[in-house]
């Protein structure tokens, strides 16, 4: 594809650090010149001896920093997690990710029932993702939608129902695109197409 073929040759690109992420919320980070010996002076476990005891929390300095406990904490799938799954998909035209050009936005991902309301882990959950193409005549909107769909289907458990749409008014033909993306038969047929499959697997390469 030559340069002139780009639907949008110059999209606004955000840097990776500007994207919403879970780690931003984390508290006190020390990285100044004086932090060279932090691992000795402020150790996670304040006693370095080897312990036969299977419960390490006895020696850990802060309840909320206990890594093993994070593993055991129940954290249902939330919007941020869906966003993390999607934001790293590459754009088919540019060497940037969908998150960087804000095709996928955290605010446009909705889970119902929301993570806090879910009682039974096996109940049905709707995932609605609204995409915002960089220009409203983007011919690749369907491809992007397809890739998002494939990614979610590969990553979410079977009780999640996936709905991928173009955000209202963001695309000249959003009705048609939405219809295409919502039609299971057509999605399945599209994925039989080797060229399309190639493009999509290329887009998903960056999701590691």
């Amino acid at each position: 594809m030559g340069k002139s073929d780009f639907d949008n040759a110059n999209p606004t690109v955000l840097s990776v650090s500007q994207l919403p992420s879970r780690t931003q919320a984390k508290g006190h980070v020390r990285k100044g010149p004086d932090s060279k010996y932090d691992h000795i002076l402020f150790p996670k476990q304040w006693w370095a001896g080897s312990s036969l005891n299977s419960d390490p929390s006895v020696w850990t300095s802060d309840e909320d920093e206990d890594e093993d406990l994070t593993l055991a904490t129940e954290e249902p799938i939330d919007e941020q997690e869906i966003y993390d799954l999607l934001s790293k998909i590459s754009d088919p035209e540019h060497p940037v990710t969908l998150g960087q050009i804000a095709v996928v936005r955290l605010d446009d991902i909705h889970l119902s029932p929301s993570p806090g309301e879910r009682s039974d882990p096996n109940s049905l959950v709707n995932v609605e993702v609204d995409l915002t193409p960089t220009v409203n005549h983007c011919s690749l909107a369907t491809v992007i939608g397809l890739a998002v769909r494939v990614r979610l289907e590969n990553a979410l458990p079977p009780n999640y129902r996936i709905i991928v749409r173009m955000k209202d008014g963001s695309h000249a033909q959003d009705d048609q695109v939405n219809k295409q993306l919502g039609d299971k038969e057509r999605v399945a047929a599209a994925l039989e197409n080797d060229t399309l499959k190639g493009i999509i697997s290329k887009m998903l390469e960056t999701c590691v």
Binding site: V58, E81, P157
Partner: protein, 1169 residues
């Protein structure tokens, strides 16, 4: 005499080089035997007659049609000549008489006229040998050159190796002074022979030959006086190769493109008589614009630099070309984008300034340098007002001005003035930043010039003495302060960072007074103001509220670095900083501080330690004051006494969290020791410091005579009891250790005998870690003379205290013992091991065990581990019979035995016993103490015993080989290299047979226990240790997993352990699992399903169980997910579908961590189709 003929024939017929050289040696010997009589030399020369005569006809015949008929003869003829050449090589060099040499030269020289096909290689070689003969006369050398040049066009038809011989010959001759004289005499400045050689050798392309050729050419320039025409010819000969490249060759020849480039460069720079050719040529190449690649540009610039640096007589060779060079080079910087070319260009400009300044011994007239600088200033001055070019123009100016002291004193005031004027009306924030950057770079360069003043001309130092520095001092009030105070929303942190850096550079500038005394450039008041400003930036974190984000961490970090360098020269600044910080901290209540305040405190204290202690302060005078005595530890002492005053910040903490403030104070002390230690290691060699880490004095005894507030006294103006230490004296390190030990002793006594309330576990641990650092830095003698082994147990108690020892022991106070013991060297602990001595009593003390927490048991156990590890018995020790350790181990053996054969001990209490026992054994294991082996049967029996205590032993036996961070060589522990292998062999290996299921009900119980024990050991060993038992181990692992899954008991820690081991095996030797794939996959899937069913989560009481469960889930997914990467698809196909279904469910796992692993696993399995 017919020998020669035979030898010649043998030589010609032989193809083996060694055989040929043997023959040549024989011939040489023969000639030597006859003392080179004319007859023998004649017959030797005539021995090749048969090949030579035919040659001539042959050569004539085949000259035109070049057919191959004579090629056999050519080879034979070449060999025959080779025989002569080789003989000459083997011949005694002093033997041949001059007339013989002349005759032989005549013979071989003729070959260059007649025999271009066969004669050249051997002749060239022979001529080189003849040149080396004692009978060689210079006139003969001239003839050689003339003869060789007759080769003319046919030179390039010779092989590269032959040409190499000729280059070697030329090089020898040309370098020879007598031949040189002869040549000059014969040819004069017209140098016809040079022209001949140039013609002969043009078009050379072989890299190896070129290296010689480029060695030869400069000699013509430097050693021969040549006419302008000839000089130009020589210049053409090498400049034609510029810029030189080298094609990549399949067969490496040991010469790189850089070698060639350097060789050509050396030609250019060899003599200034090519100056009027070289500079226009090189600059012309540079001005070709875009056609020049970066690497060529670099080559040109480096060559120009080499010429500038090496040409003699710069007034004549360089000055005329400065304008031309400057006009071309300035664009490389002004519009340049590639860093390498910019740097190389600046190097050239610097080289010019240095060359015009003169040398260390002789300075040139200042006008040369001044004219050059004027050109640069005129061109760049206006660009500074243009934000687009500020940086580049400034870079050019600054580079030239700060090249040397003379240039600096000449022009810096004017330069600084231009920047100052521009800073008053900056065009944009980035313009301000660029201008500040230039100012800072100038200051930095000045500091560098000042430091290097002694390396230059004596005049330089005089210049510095009379240098006007007002324009620099004024920068504080004129530039930095207004920019800082006038900051607005728009001021970027980059600008502020530059200001902070500038302040530090300004405050640390040094100057030399007329009396030769070094002092700070800025006055005391300016230094003090700078310090206050920076201090305020660093300390204000405490005063801000939680929601105030106006503090920029980057600026603060910069301020920390700035203060670090400022207080190392303006030493009074640190006292100010510490006092201010101390006052700020004392103002607040630390009983129940907010998280925000705690973070601010942590930052502040950690920064204080870094600022004052990461550099050894210097002693530099201020203003007109006389210099103060050198007191390298003043900052360290100041900080330490402030911290000891502050402790405890929170006198009555009720939780670990509330004791954080106290622990930060201790961390600051610990940090200051670490930083200062680093500073010492940076200044002195580790070896040197090692010698200064000891003493045979008893410091602890000396401390008793010191007052409690000794550190306060040390701060006093005189520094009364502090030793006088010179600047380069490593004694400073010993003094650091001494004061540190004083601090440790003080804290230990406080902890043991003072008020108990402020001492939480965390603070004990902090103090212990600090003690460990100090103790392990001391050498053996000092550890012994200070009696540290005893002091570890009595917390530096001595008779001057009325009580008979520590009263109501806080349980975690044992950490203090550990702190000292872990740093001691084994030899310094010897006396502890006397029979019934402290060590034995401690290790066998079970008196309070029934009542203590398991965590306290861990600490006691670890102390035992250290004691057991550093034990040494035998002759000349306190335990001559080597009984102590044996008794201790037997004691614990008995304890284990009793506890597992009777029901006397409650499992909860036994857990503590067992912990201490296993740790003690682990310490001995690391040392491979043979006495441990006597306990093997006891342990094996204990593991299989029916009671719950046996299960505890089985589960924890891995502790014997668990890596303990306290048992390291840094801590002077005795750790044998293969001890894990050793322990595994004795404790785990015999159990495999017993652990495998037999189907027999009776043995099943014991087998289960053995499996647990094996797993416990294996999971703490590296893969290599259990590698050879893989078949049995894998079966055990699968059985264990199946059993746990079947019984629904997934929360047991051994489930996670088994999975961990399986993951380890899968990554190291997947083949071991190949035949068990079905079982592993089924067991894994089952385990995951069971683990996912459970509703246990964290937060409830079952934290540990929930953790085990989550770990089991994550590890199963990790194991299953890694399988497709290790095996071929055909082995996996049958499991793909159910696996994909299961993993799809697993990607809805409760834990986010586990979901991530599931996602990866899903991706891996999706590829199996």
């Amino acid at each position: 005499m017919s020998n020669f003929k035979d030898w010649a024939l043998q030589y010609v017929l032989s193809d083996d080089e060694t055989a040929q050289s043997e023959i040549a040696k024989k011939a040489a010997k023969e000639i030597e035997n006859t003392r080179a009589s004319s007859a023998s030399v004649g017959s030797w020369a005539a021995s090749i007659q048969p090949w030579i005569t035919i040659t001539k006809q042959d050569d004539d015949n085949s000259d035109d049609d070049d057919d191959d008929s004579g090629s056999g003869d050519i080879i034979a003829r070449a060999k025959a000549l080779g025989f002569l050449a080789d003989t000459l090589q083997a011949l005694d060099k002093s033997l041949l008489r001059p007339e013989q040499v002349i005759r032989l030269v005549g013979f071989f020289g003729a070959m260059f006229s007649y025999d271009h096909k066969a004669g050249i290689t051997a002749s060239a070689k022979a001529l080189r040998q003849l040149y080396a003969m004692k009978g060689f006369k210079p006139a003969v050398g001239v003839k050689m050159i003339e003869d060789v040049c007759k080769l003319k066009e046919d030179f390039k038809l010779q092989t590269a190796a032959t040409r190499l011989e000729i280059y070697e010959l030329f090089l020898s001759l040309i370098q020879d002074q007598s031949v040189n004289d002869e040549l000059q005499d014969k040819y004069g400045t017209s140098s016809g022979f040079i022209v001949d050689i140039l013609q002969l050798c043009q078009n050379e392309r072989d890299p190896r030959n070129l290296m010689l050729w480029f060695k030869l050419l400069p000699i013509f320039l430097t050693e021969y006086s040549t006419s302008d025409e000839v000089t130009e010819e020589i210049f053409k000969a090498f400049s034609a190769y510029f810029p030189i490249t080298l094609r990549n060759s399949a067969t490496p020849i040991g010469i790189t493109a850089d070698d060639l480039k350097n060789a050509v460069r050396a030609c250019f720079a060899s003599h200034y008589k090519v100056t009027k050719l070289a500079f226009p040529f090189l600059i012309g190449k540079l001005d070709q614009g875009d056609a020049v690649t970066v690497s060529v540009k670099l080559d040109i610039l480096k060559t120009v630099k080499a010429c500038i640096e090496q040409y003699d007589n710069p007034q004549a060779s360089i000055v005329p070309y400065i304008n031309k060079i400057w006009n071309s080079l300035k664009y490389e910087v002004r519009n340049g984008e590639v860093k390498e070319t910019i740097d190389a260009t600046l190097d050239v400009l610097r080289a010019i300034a240095n060359r015009l300044d003169g040398t260390k011994t002789q300075k040139f007239d200042i006008s040369l340098l001044k004219n050059y600088i004027d050109i640069v200033v005129d061109d760049c001055r206006d660009d500074l007002a243009n934000p687009t070019y500020t940086k580049q123009a400034g870079l050019l100016l600054m580079t030239v001005i700060t090249t040397n002291i003379r240039a600096y004193t000449l022009e810096s005031a004017a330069f600084v003035d231009i920047i100052r004027k521009n800073l008053r009306q900056p065009k944009s924030p980035s313009h301000t930043k660029d201008l500040l950057l230039l100012l800072n770079s100038t200051l930095k360069s000045r500091a560098d010039l000042f430091k290097k003043r002694a390396e230059g001309h004596a005049e330089d130092e005089e210049l510095l003495k009379t240098e006007s520095s007002d324009h620099l001092v004024a920068l504080y009030h004129d530039v930095y302060l207004p920019t800082w105070t006038g900051k607005s929303e728009e001021t970027t942190s980059d600008v502020l960072k530059q200001v902070v850096q500038g302040l530090a550079l300004l405050a640390t500038q040094q100057t030399i007074r007329a009396d030769g005394q070094i002092s700070l450039l800025a006055s005391r008041s300016v230094c003090s103001e700078i310090c206050s400003l920076l201090t305020h930036t660093v300390t204000k974190g405490l005063a801000l509220s939680q929601n105030d984000y106006s503090t920029d961490a980057a600026v603060q970090d910069e301020a920390v670095l700035a203060l670090q360098s400022v207080v190392s020269t303006y030493t009074d600044g640190y006292a100010e900083l510490v006092d201010r910080a101390k006052a700020e901290i004392e103002k607040r209540d630390w009983t129940a501080p907010s998280k925000h305040n705690l973070n601010a405190l942590q930052d502040l204290l950690s920064r204080l330690a870094f600022i004052g202690c990461s550099r050894i302060p210097l002693s530099i005078a201020l203003d007109d004051e006389s210099p103060k005595p050198f007191r390298p530890l003043q900052h360290f002492v100041r900080l330490a006494s402030a911290m000891l005053d502050l402790f405890p910040l929170s006198p009555l903490p009720t939780s670990e969290k509330e004791s954080l403030a106290n622990s930060y104070v201790i961390s600051a002390l610990h940090g200051s020791i670490l930083h200062f230690r680093d500073a010492c290691f940076e200044k002195f060699e580790p070896k040197v410091l090692e010698a200064y880490s000891g003493s045979d004095r008893n410091w602890i005894e000396e401390f008793r005579k010191l007052p409690k507030d000794w550190l306060h006294q040390l701060q006093g103006e005189e520094g009364s009891s502090e030793m006088v230490i010179k600047e380069d004296d490593p004694e400073i390190y010993r003094e650091l250790l001494r004061i540190s030990l004083f601090i440790v002793r003080h804290l230990y006594r406080e902890a043991a005998y003072g008020k108990q309330a402020p001492w939480s576990e965390r603070v004990f641990a902090q103090v212990a870690n600090m003690a460990a650092l100090v103790v392990r830095s001391l050498d053996e003698n000092l550890q012994r003379s200070c009696n540290l082994a005893q002091n570890a147990f009595n917390f530096f108690f001595s008779e001057d205290l009325s009580s008979s020892g520590p009263s109501s022991l806080a349980p975690f106070r044992k950490l203090l013992i550990l702190g000292i013991l872990q740093g001691l060297r084994p030899a310094a602990m010897a006396e502890l091991y006397a029979p019934q001595g402290i060590a034995e009593t401690f290790m066998c003390d079970t008196s309070r065990m029934a009542t203590v927490l398991l965590a306290v048991g861990e600490i006691r156990g670890t102390i035992c581990a250290v004691l057991a590890n550093k034990y040494k018995g035998g002759q000349n020790t306190f335990d001559p019979e080597s009984e102590t350790m044996k008794r201790v181990l037997n004691f614990w053996g008995e304890q284990i035995k009793t506890a597992t054969t009777t029901d006397d001990i409650d499992p909860a209490i036994f857990e503590v016993y067992n912990t201490v026992a296993i740790h003690t054994l682990a310490g001995a294991c690391a040392r491979q103490d043979k006495n441990v082996l006597s306990l093997v049967p006891i342990f094996h029996e204990a593991i299989a015993s029916p009671g719950p205590n046996g299960a505890i032993v089985a589960r924890t036996i891995g502790g014997l080989v668990k890596t303990n961070e306290l048992l390291t060589s840094e801590n002077h522990a005795v750790v044998k290299r293969f001890y894990k292998q050793w322990a595994y062999t004795h404790f785990a290996k015999p159990l495999y047979d017993l652990a495998l299921p037999t189907g027999d009900e009776d043995t099943a119980f014991a087998a289960g226990r053995y499996t647990t024990a094996i797993l416990s050991l294996v999971s703490n060993c590296p893969f290599g240790v259990y590698q050879e038992d893989l078949p049995a181990l894998v079966r055990l692992l699968i059985t264990a997993l199946n059993n746990s899954a079947a019984s629904g008991d997934i929360t047991q820690p051994q489930v996670a352990t088994s999975l961990e081991v399986l993951v380890e095996i899968l990554s190291n030797e997947p083949d071991a699992l190949k035949s068990h794939l079905r079982e592993i996959i089924t067991a894994g899937m089952k385990t995951y399903e069971e683990a996912a069913k459970s509703n246990l989560t964290a937060g409830s009481k079952g934290n540990a169980l929930a953790r085990n469960l989550a770990a089991a889930r994550k590890l199963t997914l990790q194991l299953l997910g890694a399988i497709p990467k290790k095996f071929e698809e055909r082995h996996l196909l049958p499991y793909a579908l159910p696996m994909q279904r299961m993993l799809a469910m697993a990607s809805g796992d409760k834990s986010r961590e586990a979901r991530k692993v599931a996602l990866l696993a899903r991706e891996n399995w999706a590829k199996v189709v």
